[in-house]
């Protein structure tokens, strides 16, 4: 049977503040274990939390960018559960009065725009990290705890169950990530765990109003696993329903290696978090004037930037969409264009050569060895006719490795395009003289033969001859 898929996503993102949410410890990733700690984040007896104002500011920014209402009065609560990566055995989070509520985000899938409503955004502290002695939890006989991540600020962004496919989920996730990056409030590095996602998934017959029984899928730690995990879970539930069975309400974990979801705990085993208002923190009262100020100073967001690229540079919706989906790529584009680069050429190169090289090395544009200025200079050489588009690719290759400027490479390797007609004429004539058979073929109407002759000319000039001139001069001589 064909079911309607109903998905709600909970996205956790680490905020890139310098210090933790309730103490002054550094949030730096990759520090030596248990060095970014103090009595407060270690939860020692007698300590008290103090809210990092930057966290509230970032949360308000995210709330506004996701079209939420910022609650003027919100508070922290304690979420009580025992786990050794949680030194206090409660997580300070927000329960019934989160910082932001009732937002939405428009996504585009298959050229159609769709609105995903956002229930709430709340602030909370991250937990530490368990380091198991064995390869897996079950094969370990001990575990150590690294508390460096304990108290790193998190935002949890909860969507309504408005998502209808794995594809939509992916588009939504990517859009949220792009917005957080544009706001400069999170690094959104899934591989470092700074963006994580849980999905609530249920199925129902088309037309049925009531929601089906949901399963919560945890551990979706990349866009790929989010999509795969959701796809897997949908099929699993379909199979159960088709067999006349019932989906059990439970929490399942995505196993990236096996490509399956597995049960973690049932509804009966679900935690009772026994929330209570955090008595050690005063409620957060956000001044509406401050919210207005933050709103006024929001940076340009992906949708607006995409529109600008279309309006100002005549880029297609598709190209503008790809370039603006990652802030760093869009920044690279803007910097290139500011250096008098031709916008369309920049766009083509970004989506072509640049992206090809980045992908093959598995790096992001932030680590691109060719700077926007260098790329613009390369494009200028093409524009001026100093080198051909084809030679430019060779030059780019060399720039990537040596990090030298295009002009230097062109000079060093003697790659300047030959546009001197007398020089080309001489070569054209010598090639005609050396290949009488091809000339005869051409004259006999075999148009293809000219390709061979052009190839010979290019070979002799190591590709430097201006292709248009070669064509014209060759045809004249024949």
């Amino acid at each position: 049977m064909d079911y309607e898929i109903v998905i709600g996503l909970e996205i956790h993102t680490e905020l890139k503040t310098n210090s933790k949410i309730f103490c002054g410890c550094s949030t730096k990733f990759g520090s030596e274990q248990n060095t970014n700690v103090c009595p407060v984040c270690l939860g020692l007896p007698g300590v008290l939390p103090v809210i990092n104002e930057k966290v509230v500011e970032f949360a308000v920014k995210a709330g506004l960018a996701l079209n939420c209402e910022i609650l003027p009065f919100s508070k922290f609560d304690r979420k009580n559960y025992y786990y050794p990566d949680l030194p206090k055995n409660f997580q300070t989070s927000q329960y019934d009065l989160p910082i932001a509520v009732n937002g939405h985000l428009d996504i585009e899938v298959n050229g159609e725009t769709k609105r995903i409503n956002i229930t709430r955004i709340h602030m909370e502290e991250d937990a530490g990290k368990l380091v198991h002695s064995g390869a897996t939890i079950s094969s370990s006989d001990s575990a150590l705890v690294d508390y460096n991540r304990t108290g790193v600020p998190l935002l949890e962004i909860v969507s309504e169950p408005d998502i209808r496919s794995a594809e939509e989920a992916k588009a939504y996730l990517e859009k949220v990530k792009a917005i957080l990056e544009y706001l400069d409030v999170s690094d959104c590095k899934m591989e470092e765990g700074s963006l994580r996602c849980d999905a609530n998934i249920s199925l129902r017959p088309h037309g049925q109003a009531a929601l089906g029984t949901k399963a919560e899928i945890k551990n979706l730690n990349s866009f790929r696993s989010a999509q795969r995990g959701i796809e897997y879970e949908v099929i699993r539930q379909e199979d159960i329903l088709d067999d006349g069975g019932r989906v059990i309400q439970e929490t399942r974990t995505w196993d990236e290696n096996k490509g399956v979801t597995a049960s973690m705990r049932s509804k009966e085993q679900a935690h009772d978090y026994r929330y209570l208002p955090e008595p050690d923190l005063v409620p957060i009262v956000v001044d509406p004037a401050r919210v207005a100020e933050i709103r006024a100073n929001l940076p340009e967001l992906p949708d607006a930037r995409r529109q600008r690229l279309m309006n100002d540079y005549g880029l297609s919706a598709y190209d503008a969409g790809i370039i603006t989906s990652t802030k760093a790529v869009a920044d690279y584009f803007d910097q290139s264009v500011e250096n008098n680069g031709d916008a369309k050429a920049v766009a083509n190169w970004l989506m072509g050569e640049v992206s090809k090289h980045l992908n093959s090395e598995g790096i992001t544009i932030l680590d691109c060895p060719v700077s926007p200025k260098q790329l613009t200079e390369l494009l200028a050489l093409i524009e001026k006719g100093t080198i051909s588009n084809k030679i430019a690719k060779t030059v780019f290759e060399e720039m990537w490795i040596s990090r030298k400027d295009a002009e230097v490479i062109v000079k060093e390797k003697g790659l300047v395009q030959i546009s001197d007609s007398s020089e080309i004429v001489a070569i054209v004539e010598s090639v005609i003289a050396a290949n009488p058979q091809s000339v005869a073929d051409f004259k006999a109407g075999k148009d293809k033969a000219i390709g061979f002759l052009v190839g010979q000319i290019m070979k002799q000039t190591k590709g430097r001859a201006n292709p248009d001139m070669v064509n014209t001069l060759l045809r004249e001589r024949l």
Partner: protein, 487 residues
């Protein structure tokens, strides 16, 4: 008179006049501890060497002609739930029996900055849960006025130390009466400041929304001096109040003309000792004779305060005490797995009363019970607070007994938690509403001290200090010294 029988302000004068040295004073107090602590058992940890070093430093300052503060060189005790860097802080619990904090509580820092001398860490009910100090995980403390009776609690060690001359002053903490009730039982002065007046940073939490640190002293004057040092906003405590601290010694004025006193009739509960009631009535008459105006008032929600407290405080405690799990600090009992380790550690190292309150609190917060218990208790708390707001529209201070009876015998109530809880019936509403209150000696019943509680408006410490000082100046109750069985 022996040095250890003086007050801090008296001793300060002697130090400043170089009549005595701080080392001499420290030795006198340490000698007293040596002589009587085997009977009183006020201390969990003694810091004698540190005390002598601190005293030596104060003597050097005085020798150099430097002006020193009132508490400089004056030996005092800290309740053992106040964190002291490098010095064991146990909360009288086996679970923290070897815990040495790597940091100082804000009050400890402030006292150190004033060169106060710390004799040691005082005994208490485990995690401040109790009213007799019998819930200490180590040993009970005895009341210096009669060693067979309790000193009250939970700050029983602090109050007994001050009463016995084992400390000139002390800090306690008060969540439901834990400074005032032991002060009353031990015949000394105990002040619970307005919630937020004194930083809680470094005070091991029992019930965060109720806990407050305050002084236990021989007289009201010393109380004002200690308050001057420990009060004030602390950026490390978000719940501390960000307003200036007055000089509380300016309120040491023997004059209450025109002061409006309210006597809430609901505080004179069934089971109240007739002697206690007589003492309070006599005190009121005296205050009226001294120029105060007096009226009986009603605070109708008082009877629900105790129940609300025993929902709210355990709920917070169940969360606050979750961190004692054997993972990264404190006592650990190894187990087959992490859950087993949690269970064994907590079963073995927490005492019965702590376990009882953790269970109560966990239950009150559980899904399905939250609204009926915890949320309802919060509503009651609001009503109790409104009672105080309304009362203070009519009067400047409220006067009640501090506790319904004088100190009871050790073991008398240990098997009857409810009877024990009832000892806090007059003090708990004060914590629920966050206002300040002081307990001062106001008489004796069968040789045991009676305490009178004076409750003030929020941040009304100056008014209650003035009222208490006036009463004290017109009486001798605070001048008696616990006999410890001595003739």
């Amino acid at each position: 008179m022996e040095l250890f029988k003086h007050t801090a302000s008296q001793l300060h004068k002697k130090l400043a006049a170089k009549e005595i040295s701080a080392v001499e004073l420290a030795k006198a107090v340490l000698g007293r501890v040596d002589a009587v602590d085997k009977d009183v058992q006020a201390y969990i940890t003694l810091t004698s060497e540190n005390a002598l070093t601190q005293a030596q430093a104060v003597d050097s300052k005085i020798q150099r002609g430097e002006k020193v503060s009132v508490l400089a060189g004056i030996p005092g005790a800290l309740k053992d739930n106040i964190c002291t860097k490098g010095i064991k802080t146990t909360c009288a619990s086996k679970i923290l029996a070897t815990f040495v904090p790597p940091y100082d509580a804000t009050v400890a820092e402030k006292l150190a900055a004033e060169d106060a001398v710390i004799v040691g860490k005082a005994n208490m009910d485990e995690f401040a849960m109790g009213g007799s100090t019998e819930n200490s995980g180590f040993f009970p403390t005895h009341n210096p006025w009669n060693l067979e009776t309790v000193p009250g609690g939970s700050s029983g060690g602090s109050a007994a130390a001050v009463a016995a001359g084992e400390a000139i002053w002390a800090l306690g903490s008060d969540t439901g009466g834990s400074i005032r009730q032991p002060a009353a039982y031990c015949g000394v002065v105990g002040l619970k400041p307005t919630y937020g007046r004194v930083s809680r940073y470094g005070l091991v939490a029992y019930a965060s929304s109720l806990d407050q640190i305050g002084p236990i002293t021989r007289d009201v004057t010393d109380s004002a001096h200690v308050m001057n040092i420990i009060s004030g906003y602390d950026a490390k405590d978000s719940t501390s109040i960000n307003t200036g601290v007055p000089d509380y010694t300016k309120s040491l004025v023997n004059n209450i003309k025109g002061l409006k006193i309210g006597l809430p009739r609901e505080y004179f509960v069934a089971g109240m000792d007739a002697e206690v009631e007589r003492a309070i009535n006599k005190a009121i008459e005296q205050l009226v004779a001294l120029g105060a105006e007096y009226k009986e008032i009603s605070m109708p929600h008082t009877e629900y305060a105790l129940s609300a407290y025993y929902m709210i405080a355990p709920a917070e405690a169940s969360s606050n005490l979750a961190r004692y799990d054997g993972v990264s600090f404190g006592h650990r009992v190894e187990g087959n797995d992490i859950i087993d380790m949690y269970k064994k550690t907590r079963s073995e190292a927490f005492g019965a009363e702590v376990k009882r309150r953790i269970m109560l609190g966990t239950y009150a917060l559980s899904s399905g019970y939250y609204d009926a218990y915890y949320l309802k208790a919060l509503k009651v708390r609001t009503l109790v607070k409104q009672d105080f707001d309304k009362a203070f529209e009519q009067v400047d201070v409220l006067i009640t007994p501090t506790a319904p009876t004088t100190a009871f015998k050790l073991g008398e109530k240990t098997n009857d938690p409810l009877a024990m809880y009832l000892q806090d019936v007059c003090t708990i509403p004060v914590n629920l509403s966050g206002v300040p209150a002081i307990s001062i000696p106001c008489g004796f019943a069968a040789g045991m001290p009676i305490g009178m509680q004076i409750i003030g408006k929020p941040l009304g410490e100056e008014t209650i200090i003035r009222a208490a000082y006036t009463f004290e100046q017109n009486n001798d109750y605070h001048k008696g010294f616990a006999t410890l069985g001595e003739v």
